[in-house]
């Protein structure tokens, strides 16, 4: 009976302390807003209707078919033909110099080949040091070539594609950036919980109040449980804030909202448990924060925030499979995006719960040893 009462007292102390520290209070709720703001910028760029990527075109054929292709490329919303050049070398040197991000070379005999064999090729050279533009240029040229086939195919002897792929996503919804949003909620939860641990333990150590707390007639289990309850409360508030922003952005939460709260609470509890282990050895708040940030950024690429861990190389997949956050992010996606129920995410939640249970005794043991 004493443990829950003491834990509750500690959690109230934590919340009161945070309320009296305006900088920490602002920070704890500013993280979600800034992160989502940055995401909106990135998602906006990914989903932009036009890009105007500068490309050069060298039409070495000058046939009616090649001219139609060039005309199509000049009206493409993705690429912008900035130079029409007579030679391949000139086009390639522009790419190498960085003046354009891609060059399209229509080889000599392009039109003739289409008329006689129904097949032809164009060559593109892209600045492959860029991350996304080469794929976009390739896609744009492919689209225009396909359009040439479908609209003017008979005229130029182009055959239709042999096999086409019809994609049916299981959500039944068109592609969007919505799949990434649940991962962002997971990311915000992790960052928030890391910030809480810095507030909860290391800063208290720096102020000298932690030894006093330990000397009070309160069990260390109550202290840690109380801090955990405070983190869960803050996580609930952060989750609410993020969900409100999501809804304002037009995202529909397809699953049970309570499952979303349960998942973020479990992610926060695991992160806090790990933070307690780390804080037992690292005493300075700045050092702990910097270490947490250092660990956080690579972990995001491994735990499926931006892309599914299934798309990683075997080493990455192996690491992802032992990171409890991976399961948390997956559970959030399954609930928010696919609208699945508790049975679909029970395994994920169990992993998070068990991982926290494993971490807690370790942190208690380390804390006692370093007290």
């Amino acid at each position: 009976m004493r443990v829950p009462r003491d834990s509750l007292a500690i959690s109230f102390k934590e919340i009161r302390q945070l309320g009296r520290d305006p900088i920490s209070l602002i920070l704890t709720f500013m993280f979600p807003i800034v992160l989502i703001g940055i995401f909106i910028v990135i998602a906006g760029a990914f989903g932009a209707p036009s890009y105007n990527i500068p490309v050069a075109v060298a039409d070495l054929d000058n046939s009616p078919a090649s001219q139609v292709l060039v005309n199509r490329m000049t009206t493409s919303p993705i690429i912008r033909v900035v130079e029409l050049l007579p030679t391949e070398d000139q086009a390639l040197s522009l790419v190498q110099g960085g003046s354009v991000l891609g060059a399209v070379i229509i080889p000599q005999g392009f039109g003739q080949s289409l008329l006689t064999t129904g097949r032809a090729f164009v060559v593109i050279q892209t600045d492959n040091s860029k991350i996304t533009t080469p794929t976009l240029i390739l896609a744009a040229v492919n689209i225009e070539a396909q359009n040439l086939a479908s609209t003017s195919g008979a005229q130029f002897g182009v055959k239709q594609a042999t096999v086409s792929v019809i994609v049916r996503p299981i959500s039944g919804r068109p592609p969007s950036g919505d799949q990434i949003l649940p991962g962002f909620l997971g990311m915000i939860t992790v960052l928030g919980a890391f910030d809480d641990i810095v507030n909860a333990i290391t800063r208290e150590r720096e102020r000298g109040t932690f030894p006093r707390l330990l000397l009070s007639p309160v069990n260390i289990i109550s202290i840690y449980t109380g801090k955990m309850v405070a983190t869960v409360l803050l996580t609930v508030l952060r989750t609410t804030l993020v969900l409100i922003i999501f809804v304002l952005m037009g995202l529909t939460i397809h699953g049970n909202i309570l499952l979303v709260y349960l998942t973020t609470a479990l992610i926060a509890v695991f992160t806090l448990s790990l933070g307690l282990v780390m804080s037992a050895r690292i005493r300075g708040s700045s050092t702990l924060t910097i270490l947490e940030i250092t660990l956080t950024f690579p972990l995001f690429s491994l735990s499926g925030v931006f892309q599914s861990p299934e798309l990683l190389a075997s080493g990455g997949r192996a690491i992802a499979s032992v990171l409890p956050w991976t399961y948390g992010n997956e559970a959030l996606r399954r609930v928010i995006y696919l609208g699945l129920g508790p049975s679909a995410i029970a395994g994920d939640l169990l992993i998070l719960f068990v991982s926290s249970l494993v971490m807690m005794p370790i942190s208690l043991m380390l804390s006692r040893r370093t007290m």
Partner: protein, 382 residues
Amino acid sequence: MRLKLLSDAIAVAGNELRQFRRNRTAILISLIVLPLFFTMTIGASSGGATTHFSPTADIPIAFIDKDVSTDSGLLLQSLRSSGDFNNLILGYREDNAVATLGSGKIYAAIVVPNGFEGSLNNNQTGNIILYADDGEPGVADQISSTLSRDVQNFNPNVVVQAETSGLGQIEVLQKGAVFSGFNVGLVVVLGLVQIFAAFYEIAGGISKEREDGTLARILVTPSGIASILLGKTLFDSLLTTIRTFTVLGIAVFLFGARPNTDVGTLLVVSLIISLLTMGFGFLLSAIRVGARAVVIIEFFLVLFLFAFSGLIIDSELLRGISKDISYALPWNYGFQILRRTVLIGAPLTSLTGYLLPVLGATVLFYVSAYGIFAFSRERLAF
């Protein structure tokens, strides 16, 4: 005068180095955790630099052949031999495959419908249906684009599918070097590790000295502010050099990376980016930013770099204010220099357009920091 500046700077650098040597946590984070963790993450995510990596190769995908024809059999064979679909699972029915999607057992189902062979024989387009788990970010898009690319070259009249045996259409051939995901990631790691560490070491170090009271003592010593800035810069340049070699060592010997430039150029570029970040760190320290604020600024700096420096999406694709932010961030040009040297092998002398903003910003940061430090030197409490 010059000799005194230099000897004072060396003394300050020596002091920094001694302090650093006594701080095990700092050594661990700066020289081991940061370079090792970032580089290993890139290696684990994208495979080595020399190995071919297809993101869809090992994803479990159901293959449901409702046509049961020679052509559908050839299509299965063609997909299996492409290297992009090594984990095609047979035996599912269409309805239970669709029901299984979302459970994590399979992530897509390829269905070859009845009449597939008939369509091909009649010179019509044969359709195949891809059910994809779009609850996993990127999976549906990746499988769909890889499958579309592979079937574009499918020719039912050829038993062994050649790589470019397209029947019709206009084929688009991509020319030029294609860089592995690891090499592209190496650019990001080389830049980020230096920015991350240099900023924390300079801004964090000075703010801690201010809180400990040692900064005021250093400022009242006969050493000039220029010596202090130079000494700290020398010390951090040494750490930058060690970090560069650590990252390169792991990348080259563990993951087979082959940067397209020499070690000297790589070191110079790393130092340029590090100096820019140090200058920014000095400027923030000059305006009395506290230790906690340093950490917060560091977090947002890295976030901004991720969003606006072409690390997730090329800055050329950004629009409006985000594009302006991207062009205003000098680190963006630093990453461009790294890309063009490490990947393309461009000599530094050809990159003046990128070098000028970086060097200009570095000078501006250092001069501003010096000015503010000098202006407020008399106030020992700062």
